[in-house]
Symmetry: C2
Subunit: 330 residues, 2 copies
């Protein structure tokens, strides 16, 4: 498939099709209704694409990566369902979260089930390297739990550093993309060197992706983002922007405004004006610029790691993929 | 090892030793502190023993089953941690539950992590049948989630039948023992016929085990049980005893007392006298006797399934094991 965008659409449809037909059971309804609901909720299917394109780029047949790609999407959905309970999130992809539509218990069990379901797909993979694949996949689960634990710890800590933030997102966001890439490369029977490089490619993409996420929270157009601008500020989330701002601002008054968000666990009386005030501070001290530079840096680092892969369409597709992910505006 | 009790102690110590040395990481503390805590909490290690003895009884080397046996204990602990959140339980094995000692979020993540950790041990198993083992293990997770979902559904339903109850416990309690036995037998490289039989052995043990659990809730000596007698009645849990009582009692007044527990989701004003009153009703209508007969029936059925296994010490050990489980008084 010459056109990268067509390839993306084609495999996304394939993955969506498998996901839609995954839940055949009806009973118990408090388990299978929410599972159907979450799997029909859409999404960009970034992790499945990472599996498929990584497999392809290391010389594998993308068809062989389909089951594993579904496994990664299921695992990603497990993290969403459980994280939404912990973050007390009301909506996800424009619809009620499972714990809001049903209750916490239902959401806990749906998430648990998704892990099991993910493994059932993973082990269907036709490969001689299944052990390594299961190993990488399992390591992914463990590290994502660590990442989410750090994230929750950071919520109540006032002294989180930018370095700690990067460590946390490398586990929480980046690891799942790394796992996707490594699983894909293993299906493609990649060499150790290729696996290291494709893992680093995905690791860097993950960091860029999360910083962009932080950036879009305040820079996106509200109607495109599908939620209120500045949500992270309202919640006092320790984003790249907030931590960087604290680091670079010298002016006492401006610094205090940033510190207050951290001290009060969120922007007090968070009107639109207040949010714009912080946004202006971010711009004034080049925090926005710095975030953009970081995104660019990690994207470039990512692409550089692709050099060990054989030249050709599939390698170009991975470059297209990372650039596509970074050019999103919502 | 000739003495079954010695064998049990020996392998239990081995499993405890592995579990105690499993958590080496310290950070993030909100993840690894609770994991250490739960794994040091003791327990009878029934599932690991089922793995080890089943492996031995099908001709395998019990040493080869150690990692998988730990995996089953970790998976069991995952269910305990998450179930305790859902049941809002305060204590477990005489200590505070994780969600009470820390909070719900910590308990959710600890449980999630335990699943991952379980797989890391499972895949260490030295066997040519790893795919089948992972398959059985994963099926176990999925069915346990179904069982717990049914259990929570039944809590708010007034019309649960005894048949539905048996279906639920076969998933919630029995399945994990089945999985343990099947995994052990696969490590022992058992024949298909042996696997079916050892699975049925464990399935029946599981049913007997749960009915005994229901029975002990009201028949045990409080100091031995480590908690108040009649807890299931107070919570209105749809146990074998309660559902059987509803089925067999004709007397209008006595039937009403049972129905009221179901209607009110628990025994109202549950004094000791009230609990003893219900216990007397159970005895009067042979509900206790019936439960004992069921336990005996399932234990006998279990043992009968062992007949396909090669005669010898290991087979006798499995019989000893099931009888030991059924002779507990707490």
């Amino acid at each position: 498939m010459q056109n990268h965008s067509d390839a993306y659409s084609y495999y996304k449809n394939r993955v969506d099709g498998i996901l839609a037909s995954t839940i055949n059971k009806k009973e118990p309804r408090t388990l299978y209704d929410p599972l159907k609901y979450i799997l029909e909720g859409g999404g960009k299917r970034i992790r499945p694409m990472m599996v498929i394109f990584s497999c392809e780029a290391t010389g594998g047949n993308p068809e062989d990566a389909l089951n594993a790609s579904v496994a990664l999407e299921l695992l990603h959905n497990f993290t969403l369902v459980h994280d939404d309970i912990m973050d007390n999130a009301d909506t996800r992809r424009g619809r009620k979260t499972i714990h809001k539509k049903w209750n916490d218990n239902v959401a806990i069990l749906s998430g648990d089930h998704l892990i099991g379901l993910a493994y059932t797909f993973l082990i269907k993979t036709n490969t001689k390297r299944l052990n390594e694949i299961i190993d990488a996949f399992t390591e992914g689960i463990i590290e994502v739990c660590e990442g989410q634990s750090y994230d929750k710890e950071f919520e109540v800590r006032k002294d989180v550093t930018l370095e700690e933030y990067l460590m946390m997102i490398s586990k929480k966001t980046s690891k799942m993309l790394q796992t996707s890439a490594v699983v894909g490369a293993l299906i493609g029977d990649a060499s150790s060197e290729q696996i290291v490089n494709i893992r680093e490619y995905a690791a860097n993409i993950g960091l860029a992706f999360q910083i962009l996420d932080d950036l879009l929270d305040i820079m996106a157009i509200e109607s495109q983002l599908g939620k209120k601008i500045g949500g992270d500020l309202v919640e006092g989330k320790k984003t790249y922007l907030l931590l960087k701002a604290r680091e670079v601002i010298n002016d006492k008054k401006d610094k205090e405004k940033i510190e207050n968000i951290i001290i009060n666990n969120g922007l007090e009386k968070a009107t639109e004006d207040k949010i714009i005030e912080i946004k202006n501070i971010y711009e004034k001290y080049d925090v926005i610029k710095s975030a953009n530079e970081e995104i660019e840096k990690y994207t470039m680092l990512a692409d550089r790691h692709l050099n060990t892969l054989p030249d050709g369409e599939a390698k170009e597709r991975l470059k297209w993929f990372s650039n596509m992910l970074m050019s999103r505006s919502f």
